[in-house]
């Protein structure tokens, strides 16, 4: 195997960024009303630089007010989930882990479901009830999971975290089923939300996602070397001088915050955090200094394309994005798993 460089190189960032922008333009242009690519680029460019939009562009509002914020939110959620997945797979040395392994994603969903079922809103910010409750429950879930894990095992071993995460997710999903049973009039709304949807996303959502991703992303990327050590083995990481407890806490808290914000805006979107780091690992190798930046771009591209399929496949009917990612993701995952296993034999 040819050795790849330790860090992500500038030209590699450029290639991934160009690919991501091309997919963004494609996704903004294609839909129930098709827009020429040139018009899309012009509207995006002029919006960024505050220039007036030329009169000959027929439907700037479709691009500016509807599709662009949605596609940006989709890209940011995809990038965040994929980054979290990559980090968790390294931390737990488990290729089947992702952000939802922790159980925080389920916890955030429960918060949102409670908000929808009981009509909880925030005074003066009626639209924010679901978001605030999802974030609050993501944080509470993390506290519960970490407290339980500490109680069982002070060293916070990866097996304990996985086990508690799985049990907690099952417990939370049974409570969600219970709530749905007692709120039959909200079933459609809740079900659609738990399957994930980013329709109606606003620039306000995009700004929240962007700021969270910048902060949490910087923290996670700063732990790339430590994640390499964890991916080789937690005991080995400790012996080479990694402060394993501190790194684990930092990653778990950061991933929870990022997942909490994503779930609060887009609902539960499965398989992005699981599959994208796998595909990216095949391209750039397992070194987290390369894997994590590439996962950011890869996740954004994957989710934007999945959202495009969700919007256009059965037009005018829109599929929940979580259903599309799970369908594509599950098939891709089987193929990847089969290929990597065959290669190791």
């Amino acid at each position: 195997m040819k050795q790849k460089g330790e860090s992500f190189l500038l030209w590699e960032y450029a290639v991934f960024a160009v690919a991501m922008f091309a997919v963004l333009v494609l996704c903004v242009s294609v839909g129930s009303v098709s827009v020429p690519f040139g018009d899309t680029v012009t509207v995006i460019w002029n919006t960024i630089f505050g220039l007036p939009i030329p009169g000959e562009i027929s439907s700037p509002a479709v691009i500016y007010a509807s599709r662009l914020p949605r596609v940006i939110c989709v890209a940011l959620v995809g990038a965040s989930l994929s980054l979290c997945g990559g980090a968790m797979q390294g931390l737990l040395k488990n290729p089947l882990a992702d952000g939802s392994t922790l159980g925080v994603s389920s916890g955030a969903s429960l918060g949102a479901v409670i908000a929808i079922a009981f009509g909880i809103t925030v005074p003066s910010l009626p639209f924010a009830g679901t978001i605030v409750m999802a974030m609050l429950f993501a944080f509470l879930s993390l506290m519960i999971i970490l407290s339980l894990a500490y109680k069982l095992d002070y060293s916070l071993s990866t097996n304990t975290i996985i086990l508690i995460g799985v049990i907690y997710s099952m417990f939370v999903s049974s409570i969600m089923s219970l709530i749905i049973t007692f709120a039959p009039d909200k079933v459609r709304h809740i079900t659609f939300w738990t399957m994930g949807s980013l329709s109606g996303s606003s620039y306000r959502n995009a700004a929240l996602l962007f700021v969270t991703l910048i902060i949490c992303g910087a923290v996670i990327l700063s732990q790339s070397r430590e994640l390499n050590a964890f991916a080789i083995g937690e005991e080995n990481a400790m012996h080479i001088g990694v402060n394993v407890r501190r790194v684990k806490l930092v990653i778990l808290i950061t991933v929870s915050a990022l997942i909490g914000v994503c779930v609060s805006i887009g609902g539960t979107i499965g398989f992005v955090g699981l599959v994208t780091p796998h595909i990216v690992r095949m391209l750039v190798g397992p070194n987290h200094r390369r894997l994590l930046p590439a996962s950011l771009f890869g996740g954004a591209i994957f989710l934007m394309l999945a959202d495009l399929v969700a919007r256009t496949l059965l037009n005018p009917l829109e599929l929940p994005i979580g259903v599309v990612t799970s369908l594509i993701g599950a098939v891709l995952f089987v193929i990847i798993f089969y290929k990597t296993r065959s290669a190791r034999r």
Binding site: K2, Y154, A229, A231, I232, N236, M238, I240, V242, R344
Partner: protein, 258 residues
Amino acid sequence: MKLLEVENLSVRYGTTTILKNVDFSVDENNWLMVVGPNGAGKTTLINAVSQYIGYTGRIRYLGRDIKTYKPRELAQNLGVLSQSYSVNYPFTVGEVVRLGRYAYTPGIFSRKSGEDEEKVRSALELTGLTELADRSVLTLSGGELQRTFLAQVLAQDPKILMLDEPTNHLDLVYQKQILELIRRWLCGEKRAVISVVHDLSLAKAYGTHSLLLDRGSAVAQGEIDEVFSPVHLDKAYSVDVYAWMDDMLSQWRGREEL
């Protein structure tokens, strides 16, 4: 000069006591062989001294409580080779060995120095892995993987090497090569080796001192020839060890006479 002093070391898992009040010390240039039957607590002792598991008692390195050392500081002084390794991701041999320099490169932006590169290159060369540096660790044999992690520990450049069955997966050629390599390494200033071995012949050939454990307690400790007396060995292993060793050796003598 005493490098490591261990007093009253005890380890319990729930209600089971694995190590009971073990005392020992390691001087400069000592090679302490920790021996004993299965379940004697040898690996637990390595895990406790390397701070991987909790314990009661006191461990001092260079006169200072080992618990007061920060993780990186400890890694610069104590290198550990575990009994076995499993890998899940296709890191290259070179990447795994380079991680041995983690303790010397504190920040994410800190560049690897020429010294780091030199230590990695020399560790790969000493363990015969230079040719395999770009190979994925998923494709390695058990022995090659063992050597990869040994190279990582050597690149770490610690003062005390703690090796849990270092020749476990190695063929005869590499057993000899690695043990000779460690013997040469040991000659450096303020260095010592603590290793767990099952092969008493290897322990006797390379060790300077020994700690003989049985069911969590020390049966004997001191210079290797004193510890490896028939009385001590028979007590720990409950068999006539010398007779068994003679028996094994006589097979080879028999071949010579043919």
